[in-house]
């Protein structure tokens, strides 16, 4: 089977939807020359009105997309830097997300916001390395973090077809992942449905995006010690697949979450709260996250020190197996 990279999968999904639906268009900074490669080849195929290069005016072009959506189009915005989402949080959380309810259902706002290269890209320091998916989940904006090339393709396809705003976080650490993919099998992946990436019976590890690779590697390592790890990939941060998670935890009755965002009020905190409300666990659940209020420092060793990693995950899984808090 041919190899498909995660970034190429996003590019392919975008190209397929542009071809399939005249109302889809892409806008953003440097999309014509495809500075991030997300839009590679699309300007030549579809022209400047379908692949619209914007000035550095994030707030205006994010609302511009909302206006275009209200007029019947399906815009896809590329943000090259995850921290730009802080700048346009108002336009997404306070405008696009609220229009349907505030108008009593008179309109929908089918805008997709794609961030290819979220989280640490190594050496990009404080203002280029955030991974703010939890913020969008908190306000209820549909939020997805694909982990594999097939999911990157399928979730982006679903996001573009969705009639609500959807933020698609493509973690920097996942962009280079290549999988054997049967192109015939590529298709939409529904929002809000997680997947068991590896079966196991002792501990459920919930891992998002690039951290899925770490969770699978940790599971391999622990398998050598006779420990059976189930890896659950929620794929969608909001809405969260609580039922899928519950089914997994019902088998393992132990839970660890690894989450590349800040600890307080983060995604992992939400999963642990769901566990406290709904799951029957035999050991206290634990989470591996960035520290409270983390800002990624520049020096590589410092950058790595605040990101959740495989060693922390292994130590935490072992602690949960011992019933430690």
């Amino acid at each position: 089977m041919p190899k498909l990279s995660y970034l190429k999968a996003l590019n392919r999904a975008l190209g397929d939807e542009l071809a399939a639906d005249e109302s889809v268009f892409v806008l953003g900074e440097d999309v014509r020359v495809a500075a991030s490669n997300l839009t590679a080849g699309l300007a030549d195929r579809f022209g400047p009105e379908r692949v619209l290069d914007t000035p550095l005016s994030e707030q205006a072009f994010t609302n511009f997309a909302t206006g275009a959506a209200l007029a019947g189009l399906r815009p896809v915005i590329e943000f090259q830097i995850p921290s730009l989402l802080f700048l346009v949080f108002e336009q997404i959380a306070n405008q696009a997300h609220k229009f349907s309810l505030m108008t009593g259902g008179q309109c929908t706002v089918p805008v997709t916001y794609v961030v290819p290269g979220s989280g640490s890209r190594t050496g990009w320091a404080g203002q280029h390395s955030d991974h703010p998916y939890s913020l969008f989940a908190h306000v209820g904006v549909k939020t997805v973090v694909p982990a594999t090339p097939a999911d990157a393709y399928g979730l982006l396809l679903s996001a573009i077809r969705e009639n609500d705003p959807v933020v698609v976080f493509a973690p920097a650490g996942a962009l280079g992942i290549r999988d054997d993919v049967d192109f015939e099998q590529l298709g939409p992946v529904p929002l809000g449905v997680g997947r068991v990436a590896r079966d196991g019976s002792d501990v459920t590890v919930v891992a998002l995006g690039h951290l899925l690779q770490d969770a699978l590697a940790a599971a391999d390592e622990l398998a050598g010690e006779g420990i059976s790890i189930e890896v659950f990939d929620p794929r969608t941060v909001y809405p969260l697949d609580v039922d899928g998670l519950a089914a997994s935890v019902a088998r393992t009755r132990r839970l660890v979450v690894i989450d590349d965002s800040n600890r307080t009020s983060g995604f992992a905190a939400e999963v642990l709260a769901v566990a406290a409300e709904r799951f029957d666990l035999v050991a206290p659940p634990r989470r591996v996250t960035r520290p409270d209020g983390a800002v990624l420092p520049f020096a590589l060793a410092l950058d790595r020190a605040v990101q959740p990693g495989r060693d922390q995950l292994l130590a935490t899984i072992r602690a949960v197996l011992k019933g430690e808090r």
């Binding site: 205006a60 206006g67 809405p239």
Partner: protein, 316 residues
């Protein structure tokens, strides 16, 4: 557009607002409103220059714009009272009134936000081969919002068919425009390469004439126009001022400002009998609107999050 049609609109907005203020005082409208009293000529003149399929975006002081675009006063009043029969089924209220069927893409409570939404909508209609024009209302306070200046740039760069309507009523809440805006309002607009004019915003016919030219320019593909409509807010920034008794305008200033009343300016162009007939028609219309709104059901609390998503999600 005849003189009596313009008069009808300014008079309708004025009496609607006066009645709405009364309903705030009596508690039928909770949360208060931002009265448009004194600024009616702008909504009336601008919307008279638009076609039914043209679109507008509005502000937190938006009742006049929504009514001038043709919204049913009864459903508008019901919306202000949070009733299920309201324009937005009671989910939006005063600051979010919308009527997509009439091209009202919503009042917007974030100052300066809607200029870019209007620009995106107008661009999208053009891309779909439709010659629709968008008019975007905002106040002088919005001229200091970076997002709006970004929108001017996009609209001028891409020759988007939009008319930017700045209602300069002299104040951003309580801050005088001369304390807030460096340079000039039209100068800022011209810097983006679009024509910008100052218009007497108390005279509906002057607003109509200026907007008609701007709409014709937009529709013929020559891009955006900026209109600074000078006006005066006769009443409070918000009805809460009656409780807080903010003191930022002198009695003399209020008296001078109120002396150029758009209802009187347009009313003087009508024969007395015709004017009286229009007034009576509007009172009857608003009596019926009040009866409709007061008699409408309140939304069911169980449906508080209805319309949150296009496809219903289970709320936890």
């Amino acid at each position: 557009m005849t003189a009596d049609q313009l008069y009808r609109t300014v008079r309708l907005i004025r009496r609607f607002e006066e009645r709405a203020i009364g309903f705030v005082r009596s508690g039928e409208i909770v949360g208060g409103i931002h009265p448009y009293v004194g600024q009616e000529a702008i909504a009336a003149g601008v919307c008279a220059a638009l076609r039914p399929d043209d679109v507008i975006t509005s502000t937190h002081r938006g009742h006049g714009h929504v009514l001038a675009k043709g919204a049913d006063p009864a459903r508008m009043l019901a919306e202000l009272m949070g009733r299920e029969s309201g324009l937005n089924k009671g989910r939006g209220g005063s600051m979010h009134a919308a009527d997509f069927g009439l091209g009202v893409l919503g009042a917007n409570a974030i100052v300066g936000a809607a200029g870019s939404i209007a620009t995106g909508a107008a661009w999208a209609y053009r891309r779909q081969g439709r010659d629709v024009v968008a008019a975007s209302f905002f106040g002088d306070g919005a001229m200091n919002e970076g997002m709006l200046l970004e929108a001017f740039n996009l609209a001028a760069l891409w020759q988007v068919p939009v008319v930017f309507v700045c209602e300069n009523n002299g104040y951003a809440t309580t801050m005088p425009v001369q304390s807030a805006v460096a340079g000039s309002i039209t100068g800022r607009a011209r810097a983006f390469g679009m024509p910008a004019f100052t218009v007497d915003g108390q005279d509906p016919e002057k607003v109509l004439a200026a907007t008609s030219a701007a709409v014709a320019r937009a529709r013929s593909g020559r891009g955006p126009t900026f209109l600074e409509c000078t006006t005066y807010r006769f009443d409070a920034h918000h009805t809460f001022e009656h409780r807080t008794r903010l003191n930022y305008r002198s009695t003399e200033e209020l008296s001078t400002g109120r002396s150029r009343d758009p209802v009187e300016i347009q009313g003087a162009r009508l024969a007395a009998e015709l004017r009286a007939a229009v007034d009576a028609e509007i009172e009857a219309l608003l009596d019926a609107a009040a009866g409709f709104a007061l008699g409408s059901a309140h939304p069911d609390p169980a449906a508080a999050l209805e319309f949150l998503y296009a496809s219903p999600e289970v709320q936890r």
